[in-house]
């Protein structure tokens, strides 16, 4: 009896969550894929019509802008957050006195919701209220910082707010990574008279490769799903200059009664996520196998 229980209890405990994930994640992915092949407008319809929604999607200049924005935002957000996070982590790693306080200060933005970050930065970057006005009031009349209202630069304003929010978190990840490197190796290198920057670039950072991967995966999915940051910061504007696939999908599903378009853009978003996650999973599974 106990043997039977030992064998079956874990399965029974896992079964409900397994079933729930099967229905609510994979089931709904399948449903969305189905709807994306129909001509659904206001309400979902189920007669398959082929790839019409995808043709419309790729012909739409707005979705084009959204994908380009995702690329710009994703790349800059991930790279800058990682570089900045690593830099702060290395500086904090110099055994300074107030590390605890500083670490908390840098990590705190992560505790805010993206809506708060977006709204705060909207005001900070508003030319009539924020930085531009402040610097002009100091007497620099020609100073200009109007990225949020410039359609060509607005997406970079979103990057600034995103980086501000996420780099502290990346710093915490890297700091943990730096601390986990074996102190003996570092001491040995110091005894050999190797300069500090060489110790970091040749010993510590290479040994942190898994941390880079985790940070990348976390930031990548934050970038692809980011929605609230754009909604709060620019509302997708000026025009639709800062639209991302997620805001496009929302507009189609909830404002325009075009569920087919929303479903097809959701599928494209999922494909982008898969393109990033699948190689990661593949490498993970393979190393386990060896």
């Amino acid at each position: 009896m106990t043997e039977w229980l030992e064998r079956h209890v874990p399965k029974m405990v896992l079964a409900p969550s397994f079933a729930a994930i099967l229905v609510f994640v994979y089931g709904f992915i399948a449903w969305t894929a189905w709807v994306s092949l129909t001509r659904s407008r206001l309400l979902p319809k189920y007669e398959i019509e082929g790839l019409i929604q995808y043709e419309r999607l790729f012909a739409s200049p707005r979705f084009d802008t959204a994908m380009v924005n995702l690329f710009i935002f994703g790349t800059l957000f991930i790279i800058i957050s990682m570089v900045l996070g690593l830099l702060i982590a290395i500086l904090l790693d110099q055994k300074i006195r107030t590390e605890g306080v500083l670490r908390t200060i840098y990590l705190y933005p992560m505790a805010l919701s993206m809506i708060v970050t977006g709204t705060a930065w909207k005001w900070i970057m508003n030319p009539g209220l924020g930085i531009e006005k402040m610097v002009r009031d100091w007497g620099f009349e020609n100073f200009s910082f109007d990225w949020v209202i410039d359609p060509d630069m607005a997406i970079y304003a979103v990057v600034i707010a995103g980086v501000w929010q996420a780099s502290g978190f990346v710093m915490a990840l890297f700091l943990a990574g730096l601390r986990s490197v074996d102190g003996e190796i570092i001491k040995a290198a110091q005894v050999d008279g190797i300069p500090n920057w060489r110790i970091y670039s040749a010993i510590i950072i290479p040994s942190m490769a898994p941390i880079f991967l985790s940070a990348f995966i976390v930031l990548a999915h934050l970038a692809i799903k980011s929605f609230d940051l754009v909604i709060a910061l620019t509302g997708g504007g000026p025009g639709y200059a800062t639209d991302l696939p997620a805001t496009y999908m929302y507009a189609m599903a909830f404002s325009r009664g075009d569920i087919g378009q929303a479903a097809s853009s959701a599928m494209v978003m999922m494909a982008v996520v898969f393109a990033i996650i699948v190689p990661y999973l593949y490498s993970e599974l393979r190393t386990k196998h060896d």
């Binding site: 407008r41 206001l42 309400l43 979902p44 419309r56 012909a59 739409s60 200049p61 707005r62 909207k122 508003n126 030319p127 009539g128 109007d146 949020v148 209202i149 359609p151 060509d152 620019t234 509302g235 504007g237 000026p238 025009g239 639709y240 200059a241 507009a251 909830f254 404002s255 325009r256 009664g257 075009d258 378009q261």
Partner: protein
């Protein structure tokens, strides 16, 4: 006195029309939740209760009705539609095509709606020849609001042509006043755009372009001129306009920071709430050009089971188009009654102008649905047009490119 006679008549009509057993029930889904709007709905709620009905309020705020539409979709899909839903424009026919709207022709014919509603507005309330919705009000979109002091100080009258507007705006800009108060949100860009389009394309051209989606008109030289004027308008807006709410833009006109605003007549509510007097502190005029762009709020009745709910729908439809509600509601909301036979004594001068223009334009065929406010086109098409309008307004795109993009976007949205 008039009111009580009307109430008495409707009470008698009611007792005759309704089976005695069914007590009218109505669950009403709407998104009128802000101050003045909520007050307006309370009027209807009270009247419904006075006639023996039970009102179940289902207000869903947020997103200019987006949240309410999401709630509606969930209710309809689960087979439990609300009795009446605030819906407007082609969305009524879109829901009708899903097979979920009820027929209220009996009430409409008994009340003679066809005789008291302007024909083009009545058209929105009909689904394949049957009445399926009841109109509440008429908002005019193509208004231009002006600050009286600023204009008289600069010797400017309300413009009657776009050239006059441009000349006035240049003069104001030279005097250091923002000519046009505007908020850079897509729907506000679209509101200005359709006002300009009505002026330049004329009523026929507007109808061809934004009701019939005629490709030749969308690609015409006149449409290029519309975008040219939009580029000029962009120059008359202050630098800080991105994302500004419409009521803040109205406040700029009120304070004299800006001279004009192009906005629907809900802007009047802001002026009145600030204690400004029409004709003295602020001026209202239709934008240059002939025609009248309307945005009509209405309630559509959904298929429901049970005599009590059906009785509720009949009573509600009847009250909504009733003279008393049309008057009280629109006094609160700043719009004008949809039916043309309501006495306008208590309304202000802007509303009188609106009603006069509505009747005239209804007679000469220039009473047209607003595309920017979802009256002329379905969501996908109007959204596609707005995308182009706002992209052009917020960039340095050329008018010719904008016109090509407009035609492509409309074709792609079908």
């Amino acid at each position: 006195m008039k009111t009580s006679v009307f109430a008495a008549v409707s009470a008698i009509a009611l007792t005759c029309a309704m089976p005695a057993v069914a007590e009218p029930q109505a669950e009403v889904l709407h998104w009128w939740t802000s101050g003045g709007e909520a007050k307006s709905v309370a009027v209807l709620q009270q009247e419904f209760a006075d006639n023996g009905g039970t009102w179940t309020d289902m207000p869903v705020a947020g997103g200019g009705g987006d949240a309410a539409m999401t709630a509606l979709r969930a209710r309809v899909l689960s087979g439990n539609a609300p009795t009446a839903v605030q819906l407007k424009g082609p969305a009524i026919q879109e829901w009708y095509e899903e097979g979920v709207l009820a027929d209220i022709s009996a009430v409409a014919e008994a009340e003679g709606w066809a005789d008291v509603l302007p024909a083009s507005i009545a058209g929105h309330m009909m689904c394949e020849g049957t009445w399926c919705a009841a109109p509440v009000n008429v908002h005019r979109i193509d208004w231009i609001w002006g600050n009286a002091d600023v204009l008289s100080a600069n010797g400017i009258a309300m413009p009657t042509t776009w050239d006059e507007f441009n000349a006035a705006a240049d003069k104001l800009a030279a005097a250091g006043i923002t000519p046009l108060a505007h908020g850079g949100q897509a729907w506000q860009d679209a509101t200005v755009f359709e006002a300009v389009a009505l002026g330049i394309l004329g009523a026929d051209g507007f109808k061809k372009a934004f009701v019939d989606l005629d490709m030749d008109t969308l690609k015409s030289a006149e449409m290029v001129a519309v975008f040219d004027q939009m580029r000029k308008m962009r120059g008359y807006v202050d630098d800080n306009f991105s994302g500004r709410d419409w009521n803040l833009a109205t406040a700029m006109v009120m304070n004299g920071e800006a001279a004009f605003q192009i906005m629907g007549d809900w802007a009047k509510g802001e002026f009145l709430a600030a204690g400004k007097v029409p004709g003295e502190d602020f001026l209202c005029a239709s934008v240059p050009g002939d025609g009248f762009l309307y945005n009509v709020d209405s309630f559509a009745m959904f298929n429901v089971d049970g005599d009590d709910k059906k009785a509720g729908q009949d009573l509600l439809s009847k009250l909504i188009v009733g003279k008393n509600f049309q008057k009280v509601f629109n006094l609160n909301k700043g719009s004008i009654p949809a039916r043309v036979d309501v006495a306008l004594d208590e309304f202000d001068s802007c509303a009188h102008l609106s009603a006069k223009d509505m009747n005239e334009s209804s007679d000469n065929g220039s009473l047209l649905p607003s595309y920017a406010h979802g009256m002329a086109l379905r969501g996908a098409q109007s959204g596609a047009i707005t995308d182009v309008v706002t992209a052009h307004f917020n960039s340095d795109m050329s008018s010719a490119d904008a016109v090509n993009m407009l035609a492509d976007a409309v074709a792609n949205s079908m």
